[in-house]
Symmetry: C2
Subunit: 513 residues, 2 copies
Amino acid sequence: MKNIINREIPEFVEGYGKVIPFAGAFTTLPDMQRQAPKVKTIKPHQSKLVASLERVFKDIPVQNGMTLSFHHHFRNGDGVVNMVLETAAKLGIKDLKIALSSIFPVHAPLVEHIKNGVVTALDTNYMSGPVAQAVSLGILAKPVVLRTHGGRARAIECGQLKIDVAFIAAPAADEYGNINGVQGTAACGSLGYAFPDAQYAEHVVAITDCIFEYPLAPVSIPQTRVDYVVKVDSVGDPKGIVSGTTRITKDPVGLKIADTAARVIQAAGLIKDGFSFQTGAGGASLATAHFVRQMMEQQDVTGSFALGGITGYMVEMLEKGLFKKLMDVQGFDLEAVQSIGLNPNHLEIGADYYASPFNSGCTVNMLDTVILGATEIDTNFNVNVVTGSDGVIMGGSGGHADAAAGAQVTIVVANLLRGRLPIIVDQVLTVTTPGETIDVLVTERGVAVNPRRDDLKAQLKAAGLPVKEISDLKALAEQISGAPEALTTGNNIVAVVEYRDGTIIDVVRQVEA
Amino acid sequence: MKNIINREIPEFVEGYGKVIPFAGAFTTLPDMQRQAPKVKTIKPHQSKLVASLERVFKDIPVQNGMTLSFHHHFRNGDGVVNMVLETAAKLGIKDLKIALSSIFPVHAPLVEHIKNGVVTALDTNYMSGPVAQAVSLGILAKPVVLRTHGGRARAIECGQLKIDVAFIAAPAADEYGNINGVQGTAACGSLGYAFPDAQYAEHVVAITDCIFEYPLAPVSIPQTRVDYVVKVDSVGDPKGIVSGTTRITKDPVGLKIADTAARVIQAAGLIKDGFSFQTGAGGASLATAHFVRQMMEQQDVTGSFALGGITGYMVEMLEKGLFKKLMDVQGFDLEAVQSIGLNPNHLEIGADYYASPFNSGCTVNMLDTVILGATEIDTNFNVNVVTGSDGVIMGGSGGHADAAAGAQVTIVVANLLRGRLPIIVDQVLTVTTPGETIDVLVTERGVAVNPRRDDLKAQLKAAGLPVKEISDLKALAEQISGAPEALTTGNNIVAVVEYRDGTIIDVVRQVEA
């Protein structure tokens, strides 16, 4: 069948189940009760400390076929996933589903666990590195479920992603299971992506390398939801948090795009007191923040909040009074990690609070504007951030589709060419974010406005911005590099791409080795 | 039938349902899933602000037979309950159940709403004043359900107290429903008793008199659980928070009891680094804190935390470094209200985190000792804090039975005579807290130790404390005042007393007018 944006998807995907087709960003409404784990009890003065991961596995007990969940705040410095899966392998456990909010190169040992049948399913919001490559080549019999950050929170709260055991890498914990990410030798900042796991998993294990005196404060995840506390040597290396792209670009083309994006925001009338903003950690996105900041300073504007994954640049804007609050679901660098532990206006928020579409209101809903990237964008403004030009998975939505849906003005910044290939195509290989939630594409050769936003188009034209049709920008790129050849993929579905509401917006098909 | 502590209770109570008899403080285990409200959604940039309470009633819509819940942090200064029920009455709504965590004299208009059929059921943890008196005289056809603070949280989380609409008196709110109790013109401090309501009610309404710029911080109750925000003139009068008993007693008998209680704690070996403590706001309880403090100072001891309802006295102990943390479910005076907004070591905790027996661990479980009061105690150490000597309801457990169950050493302090009546009896009129969870009774004429705690008895004797049998203390009192006449009550059950685990520990029968 075809979903509403004309993507060919099966009605049923082996290893995933019945497909609910994407029907529009705000069309599919929830019709369920919240996930309801079994109620627990514990006697007064009973200890939660357990001597080893093996002991925890036996106490729970972890069994074949279970779903184990993990959060990714340590990013490429994570130590917990590999440690837990090594324990599973050692104990001969098979057929696990791993629900890890993002997968990085450090998680390469997963490939071996998949080969050995310890792991047979993955559920994640982003994947890069060896695991993503192996998945793209069809290593898993079941398709990976690719979600958004808000969608994962939704899936957990709505009982669609049922977690048997949540393992939480806890930089600081007390003996009774209170946890935070801002203290300890390996502080990683916000633990926001683990909040839904802790709230709804059947069993919750805190894995920590620093046990503090009871009661720990602040509390990010409370003792009422944590069943076991295990002390290990190291939960991760905070140096691995920094992904290397958290500096402002020096590339003149990138700076030009960023400058234009800032002018788009200005033209849309958003640079005013109470302004709210989200941007990623990539070079051009951060550069946009830089130009926005200059405008705010020149016009003496005080914004209300900056949202999302937080960088040192945003911390500086908070400290200079340019924003009143930071709302932080994940620290992108060590400046952010330090700030959240010290500054009461730097708030830790959970993934549900950040971006879940199915609760009484997430924060992306309050965004004025967001700056996002793209690996491809089509002439209907549909964006791909999952697969590269070779069809291999090299990313994922993360909060991309969430912020796009929530913000009043969603801006994609991109070079007209990526490598030697035009970024604008007739059909992206994989849709991550539907075009109806993208308002503006900013390139170095002009700005395209979604036809759904004629109001905005008029504003940008009035401000003298180089507004063009997206098809004209596409033609411009093709004049330089020629039209790209369409990639041929096989039929085997290696991933289903779930929109934030739980419908299927696209699938990823296997590439040839 | 009789429950395990020999209280005569029916197997079925009209208007309440089937009775699960109390079977011991840690015997009845949970066997259910968590309460699962319907999942919600809201579109980006959709407003939650509603112009009036009437409008909220219509939007939800509030219907006959629903359960409306409220929290009691404004105590006798609450403005919200009366306001909401006036709206219900005006709109002709009938047959409401009011789940209000504690009922005070200010809630007198409830009597009229009961007479008119607007309200036909009450669910609370404490009641005093006109409503309690009217209930005792049989004004309600259905028995009131009297719970503990932890038990109410449990009942909400376990789906036994299903809330249709939670109305939350919010000293500070933003337009998107983030709430705290520490800002605004009517700050009341902790909002801990409202946490379970916000988490599990089908609809949540924030009623506020101060709307702050989005995003409010700190967040006590998050936007993700709040559906409507209504601005009113006043949510309550913080002066009504202080109940008048938050000063240390000057009565020499009270001071003697308090001094002895402190010596009991010392003799039990608890005055040492890491000591944790709970005491009520009553004169003798607070006086015990005073003597405990002197010991801590003399012995240079740093405690870990003080718990529960918090007074200025505890704030002072925090500020002087005698405790490292305060864990605050409710402010008992304006010093506590001020401190929780300023001191990062003064933590706000929810009722579930404080005291629910059915989660992965509440904080009463970590208590070394708690000082509690009693209106009666029997020779099996069962305590009554619900009914007075005339059989009229004049209180309730609040956290009494919770803290008693959790603490390592639970101490009841009481004058041997209350008015002219002995406090120790063969059978208390109403059991609130089972004797198995009470370790020591301290009176001005001696200390009685529960026979279950021979270890403790030996420690107290070794320390030279005046240890007596509880029957001897009873005889002493009766020598002074004579044995009291047993009160005769009718058969009509006006309240069921639910133990924290949901079993019925006793019932309250109607008194004659």
